[in-house]
């Protein structure tokens, strides 16, 4: 893997300022995403508070082992991501590539488990408007729970897919071209911020979806 001499863009005094600006830009984006998922969770809390028994009844069909495996996968992927950033900071290119590969792999595994869970959900007749049979006592709010489930997990999966794409872009393009070095690795740090934020979203979706029906 070749190494390049990287110069800051015209508007920056040095690479440190360029890197800090990139990080702050990602934090602005994360702020907007916090409000985006926050509003979604608000609707969940609102209807769960209004219809607690129907929500609990509907949520019993949520596949706990899939959610649990996925929270393990995504938390581990956050670890591999920071280890990749550490490797970049230390100039260990081989380790950087390996940790990034592990991160992407864990992300793909998460999506595969999610896909399998959707398959199980279809078999359980809990897909609103497509294949839904209300259980006794859960109508009409039980269906709302599953609408939230598919909207929230679907949006999360889209975010994670973008994250996998970004990791592969950094790995297959920026690292290979020698653009991620111990001197300048801000692009990787920015992707790491995004990745850990997507992880954070799942931390809140997990109790909302998988634990409500069992409490």
């Amino acid at each position: 893997m070749p190494s390049r001499t990287i110069a800051p863009e015209l508007q920056y005094a040095d690479l440190a300022q360029q890197g800090d600006t990139a990080q702050l830009g990602m934090w602005v984006f994360i702020t907007t995403e916090t409000l985006f998922f926050g509003a979604l969770l608000f609707t969940y809390f609102l209807y769960r508070n209004a219809y607690p028994h129907q929500f609990a009844l509907a949520a019993r069909d949520a596949v706990l082992w899939c959610g649990s495996v996925n929270i393990g996968l995504i938390m581990t992927s956050s670890l591999t991501m920071v280890l990749a950033i550490n490797a970049a900071a230390d100039g260990r290119r081989r380790a950087l590539a390996n940790w990034l590969l592990a991160t992407a792999f864990l992300g793909v595994c998460f999506l595969a488990v999610k896909g399998f869970e959707y398959y199980l959900d279809y078999g359980d007749h809990v897909v609103p408007a497509v294949n839904f049979i209300a259980k006794p006592g859960e109508a009409p709010a039980g269906e709302l729970f599953w609408v939230f489930y598919f909207v929230a997990t679907g949006l999360h999966a889209i975010h994670l897919t973008i994250g996998v794409g970004l990791v592969l872009y950094i790995l297959l393009w920026r690292v290979r071209r020698g653009e991620i070095t111990s001197v300048y690795y801000a692009p990787l740090e920015v992707v790491g911020l995004y990745w850990s934020f997507v992880d954070t979203v799942w931390l809140f979706l997990f109790p909302a979806i998988y634990l409500v029906g069992r409490s």
Binding site: F42, M75, V82, N86, S196, L203, S215
Partner: protein, 99 residues
């Protein structure tokens, strides 16, 4: 932007990851304890603790540039507005929830 020396050691992240896994285990365990109305508070409290670990350590809120706190804090600040005003609205509505 050489910050290798300023980054936290890998061992700290591994320990933090173990804490995250442990907290997840506790969260799942609480679902079967029959905590009733307190269960959501406990489970989302654990999720908030895990998120704080991710934000402060994994997303390096504690490192430079310190201006990050303003950006991250603004998201939290507006989220408080969103929840506070919206819940106040629904809590004082006539005929909500619809039965």
């Amino acid at each position: 932007m050489k910050r290798a020396a300023g980054r936290d050691p890998a061992l700290l992240f591994v320990v933090a990851w173990l804490v995250l896994v442990l907290l997840t285990g506790i969260s799942i365990w609480t679902a079967f304890l029959g905590l009733g109305v307190f269960a959501p508070a406990v489970q989302f409290g654990i999720a908030a603790t895990q998120a704080a670990i991710l934000f402060i350590l994994f997303m390096r809120l504690k490192g430079p540039p310190s201006l990050k706190w303003v950006f991250a804090g603004s998201g939290f600040f507006w989220l408080l507005f969103l929840y506070g005003l919206s819940f106040t609205d629904y809590a004082t509505r006539q005929g909500w929830p619809h039965r």
